[in-house]
Symmetry: C2
Subunit: 140 residues, 2 copies
Protein backbone atom coordinates (compact mmCIF):
# COMPACT_ATOMS: atom_id res chain seq x y z
CA UNK A 1 0.00 0.00 0.00
CA UNK A 2 1.30 3.47 -0.83
CA UNK A 3 2.01 5.95 1.94
CA UNK A 4 -0.83 8.07 0.56
CA UNK A 5 -3.35 5.21 0.68
CA UNK A 6 -2.21 4.38 4.20
CA UNK A 7 -2.79 7.98 5.28
CA UNK A 8 -6.28 7.99 3.71
CA UNK A 9 -7.27 4.70 5.38
CA UNK A 10 -5.49 4.93 8.71
CA UNK A 11 -4.96 8.64 9.26
CA UNK A 12 -6.80 11.16 11.41
CA UNK A 13 -6.94 13.82 8.72
CA UNK A 14 -10.28 14.26 6.94
CA UNK A 15 -9.38 14.35 3.24
CA UNK A 16 -12.62 13.67 1.37
CA UNK A 17 -11.95 12.17 -2.05
CA UNK A 18 -14.34 14.04 -4.30
CA UNK A 19 -15.22 12.49 -7.65
CA UNK A 20 -14.78 14.19 -11.04
CA UNK A 21 -17.92 16.23 -10.30
CA UNK A 22 -16.56 17.35 -6.93
CA UNK A 23 -18.91 15.15 -4.91
CA UNK A 24 -18.86 12.46 -2.26
CA UNK A 25 -21.76 10.08 -1.64
CA UNK A 26 -23.69 10.61 1.58
CA UNK A 27 -25.89 7.99 3.22
CA UNK A 28 -28.32 9.31 5.82
CA UNK A 29 -29.77 6.85 8.33
CA UNK A 30 -32.40 7.33 11.00
CA UNK A 31 -30.61 7.44 14.36
CA UNK A 32 -33.64 5.87 16.04
CA UNK A 33 -34.25 2.90 13.72
CA UNK A 34 -31.10 2.45 11.63
CA UNK A 35 -33.19 2.66 8.45
CA UNK A 36 -31.55 4.24 5.44
CA UNK A 37 -33.48 7.44 4.76
CA UNK A 38 -31.72 8.63 1.60
CA UNK A 39 -28.59 8.51 -0.50
CA UNK A 40 -27.44 11.86 -1.84
CA UNK A 41 -24.28 13.84 -2.56
CA UNK A 42 -22.24 16.54 -0.88
CA UNK A 43 -19.69 18.86 -2.40
CA UNK A 44 -16.99 20.53 -0.34
CA UNK A 45 -19.26 23.39 0.70
CA UNK A 46 -22.13 21.07 1.68
CA UNK A 47 -19.74 19.02 3.80
CA UNK A 48 -18.34 22.12 5.51
CA UNK A 49 -21.78 23.54 6.23
CA UNK A 50 -23.04 20.21 7.55
CA UNK A 51 -20.06 19.87 9.89
CA UNK A 52 -20.23 23.50 11.01
CA UNK A 53 -24.00 23.73 11.57
CA UNK A 54 -24.99 20.17 12.54
CA UNK A 55 -27.75 20.27 9.93
CA UNK A 56 -27.57 18.29 6.69
CA UNK A 57 -26.67 20.18 3.51
CA UNK A 58 -26.43 18.46 0.14
CA UNK A 59 -25.54 19.25 -3.44
CA UNK A 60 -28.27 18.54 -5.96
CA UNK A 61 -26.90 17.12 -9.20
CA UNK A 62 -30.19 17.71 -11.03
CA UNK A 63 -30.49 21.33 -9.89
CA UNK A 64 -26.71 21.91 -9.76
CA UNK A 65 -27.17 23.73 -6.48
CA UNK A 66 -26.28 23.61 -2.82
CA UNK A 67 -29.31 22.73 -0.77
CA UNK A 68 -30.13 22.70 2.93
CA UNK A 69 -32.24 19.63 3.58
CA UNK A 70 -35.73 20.80 4.44
CA UNK A 71 -35.31 24.39 3.27
CA UNK A 72 -38.50 24.10 1.20
CA UNK A 73 -40.32 21.25 2.92
CA UNK A 74 -39.34 21.96 6.53
CA UNK A 75 -38.26 18.31 6.82
CA UNK A 76 -34.79 19.00 8.23
CA UNK A 77 -32.10 16.59 9.40
CA UNK A 78 -30.11 17.16 12.58
CA UNK A 79 -26.81 15.32 12.34
CA UNK A 80 -26.05 13.24 15.43
CA UNK A 81 -22.86 11.71 14.02
CA UNK A 82 -20.89 11.78 10.78
CA UNK A 83 -18.47 9.06 9.74
CA UNK A 84 -16.31 8.56 6.68
CA UNK A 85 -15.28 5.29 5.07
CA UNK A 86 -11.93 3.64 4.47
CA UNK A 87 -11.16 5.45 1.21
CA UNK A 88 -12.93 8.67 2.23
CA UNK A 89 -15.18 8.89 -0.83
CA UNK A 90 -18.39 8.47 1.17
CA UNK A 91 -19.85 9.75 4.41
CA UNK A 92 -22.52 8.26 6.63
CA UNK A 93 -24.64 10.58 8.75
CA UNK A 94 -26.96 9.40 11.49
CA UNK A 95 -29.73 11.96 11.74
CA UNK A 96 -32.82 12.99 13.61
CA UNK A 97 -35.21 13.37 10.71
CA UNK A 98 -38.07 15.83 11.09
CA UNK A 99 -41.02 14.26 9.26
CA UNK A 100 -40.11 12.71 5.92
CA UNK A 101 -36.75 12.47 4.14
CA UNK A 102 -38.20 11.72 0.70
CA UNK A 103 -39.56 14.36 -1.69
CA UNK A 104 -42.51 12.00 -2.31
CA UNK A 105 -43.58 12.56 1.30
CA UNK A 106 -42.41 9.20 2.63
CA UNK A 107 -40.23 8.82 5.70
CA UNK A 108 -37.49 7.12 3.63
CA UNK A 109 -36.70 7.19 -0.09
CA UNK A 110 -36.41 3.38 0.13
CA UNK A 111 -40.13 2.58 0.24
CA UNK A 112 -40.03 -0.33 -2.22
CA UNK A 113 -38.52 -3.78 -1.84
CA UNK A 114 -36.87 -5.48 -4.80
CA UNK A 115 -38.02 -9.09 -5.03
CA UNK A 116 -36.90 -11.84 -7.37
CA UNK A 117 -39.58 -12.92 -9.85
CA UNK A 118 -39.33 -15.23 -12.87
CA UNK A 119 -35.60 -14.70 -13.29
CA UNK A 120 -36.06 -10.92 -13.04
CA UNK A 121 -37.31 -8.62 -10.31
CA UNK A 122 -40.38 -6.69 -9.25
CA UNK A 123 -41.00 -3.95 -6.68
CA UNK A 124 -43.25 -4.19 -3.63
CA UNK A 125 -44.27 -1.15 -1.58
CA UNK A 126 -43.29 -1.14 2.11
CA UNK A 127 -43.41 1.71 4.63
CA UNK A 128 -45.01 3.77 1.87
CA UNK A 129 -47.37 6.03 3.83
CA UNK A 130 -46.94 9.68 2.92
CA UNK A 131 -46.26 12.03 5.83
CA UNK A 132 -46.92 15.09 3.68
CA UNK A 133 -48.50 15.93 0.34
CA UNK A 134 -45.65 16.75 -2.05
CA UNK A 135 -47.90 18.73 -4.39
CA UNK A 136 -48.87 21.04 -1.54
CA UNK A 137 -45.38 21.32 -0.06
CA UNK A 138 -43.48 21.91 -3.30
CA UNK A 139 -46.29 23.98 -4.91
CA UNK A 140 -46.13 21.99 -8.14
CA UNK B 1 -44.16 15.30 -13.05
CA UNK B 2 -43.68 13.42 -16.33
CA UNK B 3 -45.35 10.06 -16.85
CA UNK B 4 -41.88 8.51 -16.93
CA UNK B 5 -40.86 10.03 -13.59
CA UNK B 6 -44.15 8.92 -12.09
CA UNK B 7 -43.54 5.36 -13.26
CA UNK B 8 -40.01 5.39 -11.81
CA UNK B 9 -41.18 6.72 -8.43
CA UNK B 10 -44.56 5.05 -8.05
CA UNK B 11 -44.37 1.98 -10.27
CA UNK B 12 -43.79 -1.67 -9.49
CA UNK B 13 -41.28 -2.20 -12.29
CA UNK B 14 -37.62 -2.34 -11.28
CA UNK B 15 -35.87 -0.04 -13.75
CA UNK B 16 -32.50 0.77 -12.19
CA UNK B 17 -31.16 4.08 -13.45
CA UNK B 18 -27.50 3.35 -14.12
CA UNK B 19 -25.10 6.28 -14.32
CA UNK B 20 -22.81 7.05 -17.26
CA UNK B 21 -20.50 4.25 -16.07
CA UNK B 22 -23.38 1.76 -15.92
CA UNK B 23 -23.53 1.70 -12.12
CA UNK B 24 -25.94 2.25 -9.27
CA UNK B 25 -24.85 3.02 -5.72
CA UNK B 26 -25.39 0.25 -3.18
CA UNK B 27 -25.51 0.77 0.58
CA UNK B 28 -25.10 -2.38 2.67
CA UNK B 29 -26.28 -2.29 6.27
CA UNK B 30 -25.97 -4.88 9.02
CA UNK B 31 -29.40 -6.46 9.47
CA UNK B 32 -28.69 -6.99 13.17
CA UNK B 33 -27.50 -3.50 14.14
CA UNK B 34 -28.55 -1.14 11.33
CA UNK B 35 -24.93 0.02 10.98
CA UNK B 36 -23.79 0.97 7.50
CA UNK B 37 -21.16 -1.59 6.54
CA UNK B 38 -20.08 -0.24 3.16
CA UNK B 39 -21.03 1.86 0.16
CA UNK B 40 -20.16 0.32 -3.20
CA UNK B 41 -21.48 0.00 -6.73
CA UNK B 42 -23.36 -2.55 -8.78
CA UNK B 43 -23.65 -2.83 -12.53
CA UNK B 44 -26.51 -4.64 -14.22
CA UNK B 45 -24.83 -8.03 -13.90
CA UNK B 46 -23.96 -7.52 -10.22
CA UNK B 47 -27.57 -6.57 -9.51
CA UNK B 48 -28.89 -9.60 -11.36
CA UNK B 49 -26.53 -11.99 -9.62
CA UNK B 50 -27.30 -10.50 -6.21
CA UNK B 51 -31.05 -10.84 -6.78
CA UNK B 52 -30.74 -14.35 -8.21
CA UNK B 53 -28.32 -15.79 -5.65
CA UNK B 54 -29.10 -13.86 -2.46
CA UNK B 55 -25.41 -13.10 -2.04
CA UNK B 56 -23.94 -9.65 -2.61
CA UNK B 57 -22.07 -9.04 -5.87
CA UNK B 58 -20.51 -5.69 -6.70
CA UNK B 59 -18.66 -3.98 -9.51
CA UNK B 60 -15.24 -2.65 -8.59
CA UNK B 61 -14.50 0.68 -10.25
CA UNK B 62 -10.80 0.46 -9.38
CA UNK B 63 -10.40 -3.07 -10.74
CA UNK B 64 -13.08 -2.66 -13.44
CA UNK B 65 -14.41 -6.09 -12.58
CA UNK B 66 -17.43 -7.91 -11.26
CA UNK B 67 -16.78 -9.18 -7.78
CA UNK B 68 -18.57 -11.51 -5.39
CA UNK B 69 -18.24 -10.04 -1.92
CA UNK B 70 -15.97 -12.32 0.07
CA UNK B 71 -14.62 -14.31 -2.88
CA UNK B 72 -11.06 -13.68 -1.68
CA UNK B 73 -11.57 -12.93 2.01
CA UNK B 74 -14.42 -15.34 2.75
CA UNK B 75 -16.30 -12.41 4.33
CA UNK B 76 -19.54 -12.90 2.39
CA UNK B 77 -22.84 -11.04 2.65
CA UNK B 78 -26.19 -12.83 2.62
CA UNK B 79 -28.88 -10.44 1.45
CA UNK B 80 -31.94 -10.43 3.69
CA UNK B 81 -33.71 -7.63 1.83
CA UNK B 82 -33.04 -5.31 -1.09
CA UNK B 83 -34.80 -1.99 -1.58
CA UNK B 84 -34.52 0.71 -4.21
CA UNK B 85 -35.04 4.44 -3.76
CA UNK B 86 -37.49 6.91 -5.27
CA UNK B 87 -35.50 7.59 -8.44
CA UNK B 88 -34.07 4.06 -8.65
CA UNK B 89 -30.42 5.10 -8.85
CA UNK B 90 -29.49 3.47 -5.55
CA UNK B 91 -30.19 0.22 -3.74
CA UNK B 92 -30.07 -0.58 -0.04
CA UNK B 93 -29.32 -4.13 1.02
CA UNK B 94 -29.70 -5.40 4.56
CA UNK B 95 -27.21 -8.21 4.98
CA UNK B 96 -25.94 -10.88 7.29
CA UNK B 97 -22.25 -10.08 7.17
CA UNK B 98 -19.81 -12.92 7.78
CA UNK B 99 -16.89 -11.38 9.67
CA UNK B 100 -15.80 -8.02 8.33
CA UNK B 101 -17.12 -5.95 5.42
CA UNK B 102 -14.05 -3.74 5.08
CA UNK B 103 -10.88 -4.73 3.24
CA UNK B 104 -8.93 -3.28 6.20
CA UNK B 105 -10.34 -6.08 8.35
CA UNK B 106 -12.88 -3.96 10.22
CA UNK B 107 -16.53 -4.90 10.56
CA UNK B 108 -17.61 -1.69 8.76
CA UNK B 109 -15.77 0.61 6.36
CA UNK B 110 -17.07 3.49 8.50
CA UNK B 111 -14.65 3.12 11.42
CA UNK B 112 -13.87 6.83 11.82
CA UNK B 113 -16.06 9.65 13.04
CA UNK B 114 -15.77 13.11 11.50
CA UNK B 115 -15.69 15.75 14.22
CA UNK B 116 -15.70 19.51 13.94
CA UNK B 117 -12.44 21.13 15.06
CA UNK B 118 -11.25 24.73 14.75
CA UNK B 119 -13.54 25.49 11.82
CA UNK B 120 -12.42 22.31 10.04
CA UNK B 121 -12.71 18.62 10.86
CA UNK B 122 -10.67 15.75 12.26
CA UNK B 123 -11.20 11.99 12.34
CA UNK B 124 -11.59 9.83 15.45
CA UNK B 125 -11.42 6.03 15.35
CA UNK B 126 -14.51 4.14 16.55
CA UNK B 127 -15.33 0.43 16.22
CA UNK B 128 -11.88 0.03 14.68
CA UNK B 129 -10.87 -3.45 15.87
CA UNK B 130 -9.68 -5.64 13.02
CA UNK B 131 -11.45 -8.98 12.65
CA UNK B 132 -8.84 -10.26 10.23
CA UNK B 133 -5.33 -9.36 9.10
CA UNK B 134 -5.65 -7.89 5.60
CA UNK B 135 -2.01 -8.63 4.74
CA UNK B 136 -2.58 -12.32 5.43
CA UNK B 137 -5.98 -12.53 3.75
CA UNK B 138 -5.10 -10.63 0.58
CA UNK B 139 -1.51 -11.97 0.40
CA UNK B 140 -0.04 -8.53 -0.17
Amino acid sequence: MSAHSHEIEEGLSFQPRFDASGLVTCVATDVATGDVLMVAHMNDEALRKTIATGEAWYFSRSRNALWRKGETSGQTQRVVEMRTDCDQDAVWIRVEQIGAACHTGRRSCFYRKVEAEDGGAKLVFVDADRLFDPDAVYKK
